[in-house]
Symmetry: C2
């Protein structure tokens, strides 16, 4: 699905963001067809310095910046402020993730923006939110993850290891905030734009901490009613059993999720313990969770007798959810991902040819969405946007460029 | 913000789902004001058996089912199929997470549903997606997390520990799929319903695996260009430094994220190593990542001299992002969450009074959204929905109930 049939074709979003959260929100919208204009500092988004580089160019950026237009400028220049205000008139929404109050200081607060575009939808992303006693505190994703409760739970069970709790392997706090921002923005746009809708502007206020907390399942109700402080459970799940990473004969691990009545029965048959099906202490999820240590031992005694590939073969044959612990290499070679266009080669002129990307999620329609272009160079679309949207002349643009306001 | 001003007020969504992913998608939409009708088996959603219970009632459910209406019925009964079709006429969208093909077997495939409602938006959530060689394989969240690459990266660095890689402490694969489903659905609704939109039905196809893969940052571009298989980095971040969990004098950990030029300088001043600011091997994020081991040692030598609360005080004073590793108790007591209505007491008659919930994310407008009601009992809204939306008589409903088709 490309062009006109993309769900967000016809939507224009201005990103005044940096690092991960706001740019991730706009990547999601750009992937679904929105015209995203990224306001980028003359020195580039700092995330261009993150991860592996080739000739000083970031590989992550090829993905993080894809399908967006980059307009490079100095936000502190008053002429640039004027440009931004003129761009806002042409946009449905703005996404930003500066510290609360920073845009106001730059003369780009909500009131000013809505003078240009009265029905503007604005999404603010920050560590702690736009209000409250901590609103001015600095935060990054890892802080949001810790304060949201995720860091505490992503660990071996208490007493098993002295090592620090691991970080979830990607910027999950920022990504979640970006997802909530995209969802909130489009929801506000639906209400504004639908026939029978209210045509109103809305402000979406996303905190990294709250985006994480929103996913913590029964943790708060259970604490409130029972005083229970949920603890980490290592490779298992606190609320379902059996499900864990089980050792294989060749020194690796295989994930098995047999936490439903029929799956548990299938697994017990497979490991030669059909006698345990229907036994009271293993009947019903609650009972199995209480006895999950014993169950995990039984399953591990079986899994240790086979290598990884054999285990996966046996489990697939029995229709029990299972998998290897995939690495980048496994993902790149996976036939399902390739078949669905979810691992694809994308043209990227900054890297002299093609580069490997994940596809567009969610898939809308029968065909995978095309990637329109890879992450652009800093300011690659400055002229195109200023000429096309603001009808500025080449001369005006050159002057601003010579004076260092744009690039 | 309540009632008419909620962004999704006026939207009606039918959920034919169970466990986590589809019900999480509909919780997000219900929280923003949509009328969500959950089709629930007579025995209840299996997730009602997960986590801690009081008198056989799930505390997680109070949150997972909130703001939705539960209609309990036996999907295999042909009279129920007819009811579902009549309900679909009244709905904008359907969310389901059965195994691919299962709804077709029940006589509720997309073609059948769209005969009733030609512009219906449908979101299918599954382990591997609706197409491709693995589409029929069973999957749960943990499988999606492993195949998406997250499990491999959420671990101590290679060689540090023999323990199995930990699971992210919540159903992150399901939650991500739910978020993508909600975002995709609302995007499709915007395009369908906006003035100038296309009025078309759309199908959103969400795989757990792909929802996770979509967050893996530069992993695929880096593998494709450099053959690099990204490895786990324990408490740190592979792409930014310094940021980690650092030990305190009282035997805990404190998170510090000082991975920008100004933050790095502030931190070096704080730990008494201002001499290291401007040193080439610590200048620029790339260089600091190369030397992150040395940096982490320096910072840990300082952090070990103070207890947790002292560290947080010093770091806040220096305006450096930091936090404790929050537990449920820390979250419940946090003044910022309370101030923003993100930890709130909700009335729940199933638990004789109030129960602790996280608030509605994202926050839309100046006030936190109200929770309209806590997770309902199985079939709590069967009569209300069948009478109100389908204009069925009390007699018709009673007959279906006596015959075991609904409850």
């Amino acid at each position: 699905m490309i062009g006109d049939s993309s769900p967000l074709h016809g939507l224009r979003v201005l990103e005044i963001g940096h690092f991960v959260a706001a740019p991730f929100a706009t990547r999601l919208m750009a992937d679904l067809g929105a015209d995203v204009i990224k306001i980028e500092p003359l020195t580039g988004d700092p995330v261009r310095q993150w991860g592996d580089q080739i000739d000083g160019k970031s590989l992550w950026w090829s993905l993080h910046g894809r399908n967006k237009r980059s307009v490079a400028c100095n936000l502190k220049d008053p002429r640039v402020r004027d440009l931004i205000l003129r761009l806002v008139r042409e946009c449905d929404a703005v996404v930003e993730n500066f510290r609360p109050g920073q845009l106001v200081k730059l003369g780009l607060g909500p009131d000013v923006l809505r003078r240009e575009r009265p029905d503007l939808i604005i999404a603010h992303i920050s560590g702690y939110g736009q209000t409250g006693p901590y609103r001015d505190r600095a935060a990054f994703g890892v802080i949001g993850e810790a304060i949201g409760g995720l860091r505490h739970l992503t660990d071996q069970p208490p007493g098993v290891s002295d090592l620090p709790p691991v970080r979830v392997g990607v910027s999950i706090g920022d990504s979640l905030a970006g997802l909530y921002a995209a969802f909130g923005l489009v929801s506000a746009l639906w209400q504004r734009d639908r026939s029978g809708g209210d045509g109103r502007p809305r402000t979406i206020d996303i905190a990294l901490t709250e985006s994480v907390l929103s996913l913590m399942e029964g943790m708060l109700p259970e604490y409130g009613k029972l005083g229970k402080i949920r603890q980490p459970t290592g490779g298992g799940i606190a609320t379902a059993a059996p499900t864990n990473a089980y050792p294989s004969a060749d020194g690796g691990f295989v994930l098995i999720a047999a936490n439903s009545e029929p799956l548990f029965a299938k697994l017990m048959h497979l490991i030669g313990r059909a006698d345990l099906v229907g036994v009271p202490r293993f009947t019903g999820n609650q009972k199995r969770v209480e006895h999950s240590g014993e169950l995990d031992q039984l399953i591990a005694n079986w899994s240790r007798q086979h290598d990884r590939e054999t285990l996966i073969g046996l489990l697939n044959e029995a229709d029990i959810p299972s998998s290897l612990v995939y690495t980048a290499a496994d993902i790149a070679a996976d036939p399902q991902y390739r078949d669905r266009g979810m691992v694809i080669d994308v043209h990227d002129e900054q890297f002299d040819g093609s580069i490997l990307h994940p596809g567009v999620v969610p898939r809308c329609g029968a065909e995978p969405a095309a990637i329109r272009w890879a992450g652009p160079a800093i300011g690659a679309h400055t002229d195109e946007v200023l000429q096309g949207l603001l009808a500025m002349s080449g001369e005006e643009i050159s002057e601003l460029r010579v004076q260092g306001a744009i690039s």
